[in-house]
């Protein structure tokens, strides 16, 4: 009887491993594929080989990317835009989320619900009027134009996340600080903000990803090649008649690595932050 149960558990574990291994391979394969193409020598880009490390592996594509293409310029543009968007997003969400979590005020439910409704807007619903507005006020082809749009994209999600996290921090902590003579705002940024660090990290990551990986808006607003961000630049390697596979692959690895590392390092926070908002009643 015991043996049978033991055997059953062994079988179930084996099945679990098998499924996990299959899906892990599926998850990793495209990444290895990109790595492989980025290392191929120029005359063997269109190869029918399935080997991961190609024969005569070379870093030529990487070299061309940094020396022969405006890759560094696109990267500078993307970094600049992403940092401004992240800073704005974190500050706005930290403040607004706190109000929604701690205070009763007129328009609170309406505000929270409106934030939820904005998630249902199709991308073009705001993009088209924004585009026409930007043309009319002369912000087309400027970083400010995309920064304004990006700041609002992730904001609803960020505010909800911050609100959910503040809800788990007991209000008695601020009350104690107030009794010690802190002002309302000091109690907020000296006591609550440090405790909300995990949520702030998630919000920062989300805001950053919005700006770092956005293609559709950037493609319409930034028409001047000197202003292009990484996604717009990378797309040109791929969409033309002659796809520049090597450059595309090398560039996408360089673009992805920092985000992926950040994402994986923070995935613990991410899991608790995302489930927290939905689990608590």
């Amino acid at each position: 009887m015991r043996n049978k149960a033991y055997f059953k558990k062994q079988m179930a574990d084996a099945v679990a491993y098998l499924v996990l291994i299959i899906f892990a391979v599926i998850a990793v394969y495209p990444v290895l594929q990109v790595l492989s193409i980025s290392l191929r020598p120029g005359d063997r880009l269109l190869s029918t080989s399935l080997a991961i490390i190609p024969e005569d592996a070379t870093f030529a594509a990487y070299k061309e990317l940094f020396t022969g293409r405006p890759f560094l310029l696109w990267m500078r543009n993307s970094i600049l835009i992403s940092f401004v968007v992240t800073a704005t997003g974190v500050i706005l969400a930290a403040l607004a989320g706190y109000a929604f979590s701690r205070f009763k005020f007129r328009g609170k439910n309406f505000g929270l619900l409106s934030l939820l409704v904005t998630q249902m807007f199709p991308a073009t619903m705001l993009l088209l009027p924004m585009y026409i507005m930007l043309v009319k006020v002369g912000l087309i082809n400027t970083f400010l134009g995309v920064i304004i749009i990006y700041s609002s994209t992730a904001l609803p999600f960020c505010i909800w996340t911050m609100k959910g996290y503040y809800d788990t921090i007991p209000a008695s902590l601020e009350e104690a600080a107030r009794i010690d003579g802190c002002t309302q705002f000091a109690a907020f940024y000296k006591v609550v903000i440090p405790l909300a660090a995990p949520a702030l990290v998630i919000v920062a990551l989300f805001s950053f990803m919005t700006a770092w990986a956005e293609y559709v808006v950037a493609a319409q607003v930034l028409q001047d090649t000197g202003l292009w961000t990484l996604p717009v630049g990378l797309q040109t390697f791929q969409a033309n008649m002659s796809t520049e596979w090597g450059l595309y692959a090398a560039a996408s690895l360089i673009v992805s690595i920092p985000v992926v590392v950040l994402f994986l390092a923070l995935s613990k926070f991410l899991i608790s932050g995302l489930t927290l908002g939905s689990v608590k009643g």
């Binding site: 706005l92 505000g111 249902m120 609002s152 985000v259």
Partner: protein, 297 residues
Amino acid sequence: MLENNRKLFPYILILPAALVMIGVVFYPFIYNVVLSFSNMSLRNFREWQIIGLDQYYKVFFEPSEPSFYTIFLKTMIWTVANVTFHVVIGVMLAMMLNRQIKGKSVFRTLLILPWAIPQYIVALTWRGMFNYEYGSINLIITKYLGLPAVEWLRSPTEAFLAVILTNIWLGFPFMMVIALGGLQSISHEFYEAADIDGASAWQKFKNITIPLLRPVMIPAITLGIIWTFNNINVIWLVTNGGEPADQTHILVSYVYRAAFGLYRYGYAAALSMVIFFILLIFSLTFMKKTQATKAAY
């Protein structure tokens, strides 16, 4: 003084976010409503006027190739197929990861990978992998499975299937992560009690796992449906803007094309409104039926 301050303080906190939302979300929204009743296009960019419900009439009745109803049907297939596979694969993997096995964190890290990579890179990479002659998917199909190569991006059905496969790949980790969080919060005592009663694995799954996972998954599924319905990146980049011949559009990519490819601003604005109301009505019914907001509040 203090009383006053307490009333004013939340408004001060919200003010910056509210200004951004009003300027960048609500004002454009109203503007979009106005545009949807107008004849604005590239030709009538400065001298546009309100023309009533014409654009809405065009959305539903203008004979176009492909028609609104075909695209709507494709959008439904796209959303249902994606979210179903996301949830099924996600929950299955989460259950595997929730067991006492070695190398758990390694598997978890590898499996989150598709979510961590920027979406546009995923889309463009898969576009390359679906290439007829040199893409690795056809190479695997022909070399290892001995089957004929598939015309992935050249014929409408296969292209649509290719986009769905891509999106399933990049979407399952989100559901897996959510489900894992939910599973970890289920107490072992339930399962131990069920074991004592001699319940089968299926009975335990049906009567313990599903009901206790439900409150965690429902809000995630709601969000997942809205995000998938509205996901323009993947479909646009994998099919290079609806190729072949605009046969692989879902509603959001079609409206993007109407606005920025054909410059039919009024029409695009009306179609955007229609999409928004479809989503709004769906979400409200879904949330009411499943009481998703109960957990969210």
